[in-house]
């Protein structure tokens, strides 16, 4: 039980990111605990958040959650129920209100300004996140993916195609065009899921792609297009194995495999 409790503590720490916004929330909660007179508001913004937090740290809650959801990775979402933002804003404004009545309007303005600055200093600006970048198009996916997909995508009315993409592109391909099917997708490339897929294993080699091994696998599965990484070497010239280079976009060579197409034709007519 103690171990589960400590896991919840770690989850809470990770959730709050070690920043002081959580401290601001607890201060606001404490302030409301002592000053909020309306019993219904105390119920909503003091007792309910406290009970939800206690439930979060209570080991049995985590056990039940894992049992019901089949996983513990999303346990942090219980914390979404704690109205931290509303408590901070309401507590802060209520304090400013009190200060205004006791001292004066200038003190209220000062308190509100300090509160706003504190939020900025204690938090972390969302647009400075490593996951944010300038949008290259209205799809908000890398332009190189769109350019590559436009080269290989089937025309209207044509059969869907199978393709292989480097790990860094697989997330985006089917957000642009679902007529392009992939031998492996996001589920195989996420390290945390640790799935193994033979084609991905070959493509994901740290430095060199074994073309012969790759083609043995892709041709077996009727894959007619191969987009190779732009930062790795290959064991042999792909064109020696019958591949046709269609284009190279931002260093990603795009190959068509007529042998796979022929094999598919023979197999399915």
């Amino acid at each position: 039980m103690y171990g589960i409790f400590m896991e919840s503590v770690v989850i809470f720490k990770n959730y709050t990111g070690g920043r002081y916004l959580a401290a601001m929330f607890f201060l606001a909660l404490l302030y409301l605990l002592f000053t909020e007179k309306d019993r219904r508001r105390r119920a909503m913004f003091v007792y309910m958040p406290i009970s939800l937090l206690l439930a979060f740290f209570f080991p049995v809650t985590r056990k039940v959650f894992v049992r019901l959801m089949g996983e513990g990775d999303t346990y942090y979402r219980i914390l979404w129920l704690v109205p931290m933002g509303i408590v901070i804003a309401y507590g802060g404004v209520k304090f400013a209100c009190f200060v205004c009545e006791e001292i004066g309007a200038w003190a209220k303005r000062l308190i509100l300004a300090v509160l706003c600055v504190a939020v900025m200093l204690c938090g972390k600006y969302v647009y400075a996140s490593q996951y944010m970048s300038k949008a290259e198009n209205p799809y908000h996916i890398p332009q190189k993916v769109i350019d590559i997909c436009d080269v290989i995508a089937p025309e209207d009315g044509e059969e869907r195609i199978w393709a292989v993409f480097p790990t860094d592109l697989v997330y985006f391909v089917r957000q642009y065009d679902t007529d392009i099917q992939m031998l492996y997708g996001r589920e195989m490339v996420e390290p945390k899921w640790q799935y193994a897929e033979p084609v991905h294993t070959v493509m994901n080699h740290p430095s060199r792609i074994d073309i012969e091994e790759l083609l043995a696998l892709t041709r077996e599965r009727s894959c007619t297009y191969l987009v190779l990484p732009n930062n790795k070497g290959v064991s042999a010239d792909p064109e020696k194995f019958g591949l046709e280079l269609l284009d190279t976009i931002e260093g990603y060579p795009i190959y068509y495999d007529p042998v796979a197409a022929r094999m598919m034709e023979e197999r399915y007519g």
Binding site: A22, A89, H140, V170
Partner: protein
């Protein structure tokens, strides 16, 4: 073409939800019949209807289930919108002052309050600008966004793996959370690629919707100190902007995964639940009202119940129509299931926790019973989820 897409967007994202939101208004207290309540309420009802139409189509229609869903949901949405308009016309015929006067008057407020509102709207504008010009990378988009696109392009629902394109048996885990299908439906109606819709268009809807909910909470909490409302909203907006303390917070989800069901659950559904609970339980206090338009308020009329005190004064008995709010809370619970299966579970916990403490505060066991009743959709959802899993 662009104009047609624009008109379709206005129709399906603004006009129809707003009309649908008019349905429960008659059964809501008069002061709560606000534009924000109508608009957000419309979304809760519309998304609930979407669930009711989509899930049977997923489970029962074998081929081209999205085509069937699309036809039925179009008809149901239009009927609901027509019902909303019809009810409103009827209500106006009975009471020309059916809706309260809007409270936000930018011109008649003190400079300090005005500055606060301007600051708040600048922060919103900044978030919208960034939502359009910045792209956020999130692996889950490979599923959510691709799911919408697969639905739009293949006309089937949850039968094709979004990651690869391979066929699969029905994806039970995700099939009850039909948010991607709703996005695909809007994509079909507007002719906009669902990825563009999700990443570049929906933030312009979902961000204001969320702030409407916070406005509702703030204006209720500060109804006696309205001059503090802009400060409340500015702090909320700043918390969203600077809440990226980890990848897990609802604030991070709000601005980096706005279009995903779980982000909508965390930032729209959960605050809306708090908003409605506040409205229901922190409502009429039996205050003495201003002189009532005696004789104009017929018995049983929408707008609340008042007891005459004599000399033209009336007492608000606190027995304002509440059924509309309870119904909305019910649809909020259903919307949680539209967003994510876990949302159903989380929202039930929230309602239960709030109801427990409100029951203690009010010393009324009936609160717990009523809260239990509004969670019936959650129970049905969870039962269906378990049934399909077994």
């Amino acid at each position: 073409m662009v104009i047609i897409k624009g008109i379709s967007l206005i129709l399906w994202l603004l006009a129809i939800p707003s009309c649908i939101g008019l349905i429960p208004v008659r059964w809501m207290p008069k002061e709560k019949r606000t534009v924000g309540a109508v608009f957000t309420g419309g979304y809760f009802i519309m998304l609930s209807l979407c669930w009711l139409v989509t899930v049977p189509c997923i489970l029962l229609v074998k081929y081209y289930s999205f085509r069937t869903m699309s036809a039925w949901f179009t008809a149901v949405s239009l009927l609901a919108a027509a019902a909303g308009i019809g009810l409103t016309v009827w209500n106006f015929r009975q009471d020309s002052r059916f809706f309260p006067r809007p409270e936000l008057n930018l011109f008649g407020m003190p400079a300090e309050v005005k500055i606060g509102w301007i600051l708040f709207f600048l922060l919103i504008f900044w978030q919208l600008y960034k939502a359009f010009t910045m792209a956020s990378f999130d692996g889950d988009d490979a599923e959510y966004v691709a799911q919408s696109l697969v639905t739009q392009q293949s006309e089937t629902m949850y039968l094709i793996k979004p990651y690869t394109g391979g066929t699969t048996s029905l994806d039970i885990r995700h099939s009850l959370a039909v948010m991607p299908i709703w996005v695909a439906f809007i994509g079909r109606k507007t002719g906009i690629h669902t990825t563009v819709l999700a990443h570049s268009v929906l933030p312009f809807l979902l961000l204001p919707l969320t702030y409407t909910v916070y406005y509702g909470i703030g204006s209720h909490l500060l109804k006696k100190k309205k001059e503090y409302l802009p400060a409340f909203m500015v702090i909320i907006a700043l918390l969203q902007l600077f809440g990226n303390v980890s990848i897990y917070t609802n604030e991070t989800f709000f601005l980096t995964r706005t279009w995903q069901g779980k982000a909508v659950a965390a930032n729209f559904v959960i605050p809306a639940t708090i908003w409605l609970l506040l409205w229901i339980f922190d409502g009429g206090n039996g205050r003495e009202s201003a002189p009532m338009p005696a004789g104009k308020q017929k018995p049983g009329m929408p707008g609340g119940s008042f007891r005459p005190l004599g000399q033209g004064r009336w007492k608000d008995t606190g027995k304002q129509p509440q059924a509309g709010l309870w119904a909305l809370l019910c649809t909020v619970n259903m919307t949680a299931g539209v967003c994510t299966s876990m949302g159903v579970f989380l929202n039930a916990i929230l309602v239960a926790a709030a109801a427990f403490w409100l029951m203690v505060a009010e010393r009324k066991f009936s609160i717990l019973v009523k809260a239990g009743l509004v969670c019936i959709p959650n129970v049905i959802y969870m039962a269906l989820y378990l049934f399909l899993h077994v």
